[in-house]
């Protein structure tokens, strides 16, 4: 069964790279939806059945922590694993992401292998990929 993924980042370049990495994982990836901020992500979550979210933290309008909080507060979305991919390396925001229920995080700059390795752990625990 293919899983649909939502990639949330205000950088189109990062969304493009993550699309490419997802296709290289060997996992059964279906549609990869893209959002430029948390608000757009929530609209896509309402419109599609999403199995996994990869999200930046620092974004305009609604940041990744607000998106994560909104998802975890929703009975409809709280089971969707969310992996944060961010320049934030400090305890404050990463700690907040973990406290809110992020399935994992990867710090930018990242290699494709780091993303694949972290995704494999998340998939093993939570996804029917």
């Amino acid at each position: 069964m293919e899983s649909d993924v939502l990639v949330v980042d205000d950088s189109a370049a990062i969304r493009k790279i993550l699309q490419r990495v997802l296709r290289q994982t060997g996992m059964a990836i279906g549609t990869v939806h893209e959002a430029g901020d948390g608000q757009e992500a929530l609209e896509l979550l309402k419109a599609h059945k999403i199995d996994l979210v990869l999200s930046d933290i620092n974004m305009p309008k609604m940041d990744g922590l607000q998106l994560l909080g909104a998802m975890k507060a929703s009975p409809q979305w709280n089971g969707i694993p969310v992996m944060m991919i961010t320049t934030e390396g400090g305890e404050t925001k990463v700690g907040e992401a973990v406290r809110l229920g992020a399935a994992g995080y990867v710090r930018k700059p990242f290699t494709a292998d780091q993303i694949k390795e972290k995704l494999a752990g998340i998939v093993e625990l939570a996804l029917p990929l």
Partner: protein, 174 residues
Amino acid sequence: MNNETLVNAMSQATTQVFSTMLGLEVQVVGSSVERGMPDATDGLVSFIGLAGSWAGTGSLTCSKALGCRISSQMLMTETTSIDEEVLDVVAEITNMVIGSVKTDLEAELGPLGLSIPTVVFGRNFTTKSAGNTDWFVVRFQCEGEQLIVKMCLAPSDKVSHVIPHSLGQTCSVD
């Protein structure tokens, strides 16, 4: 925070981001502390703000050719002219470089926030920040082109207002 700590953090962050995300090698060719308005420049300048108990601005400056090369490496597509994609890539690379420096400095300075980056592309333009803060400048060589990373950072009560302004003659982008 001493000057050496900041310059080392800027050098290491730039080297790591260019190596990891772009597969490009950069060599440090010098560092300095500057104050006042720099000479007019051509090419791309990307700015990102830092805020917290300390505040300031980080920037990355490169030529059109290096901007295109950076974009080509990151997206694995050949790029020869400046377009939205190149500006986006340069903004994201700036975000990663200054974000890495920020993380290194947070242990000493406490939590800092990052703004969304802004990129300027043009010819013969000058940038200036309000306030009298010193700029720490690290110059690199990358693919035969110059790359400059700058940061100004001061305790928040000493920074009046730090905003990049573009001044002087401007011309259309090609």
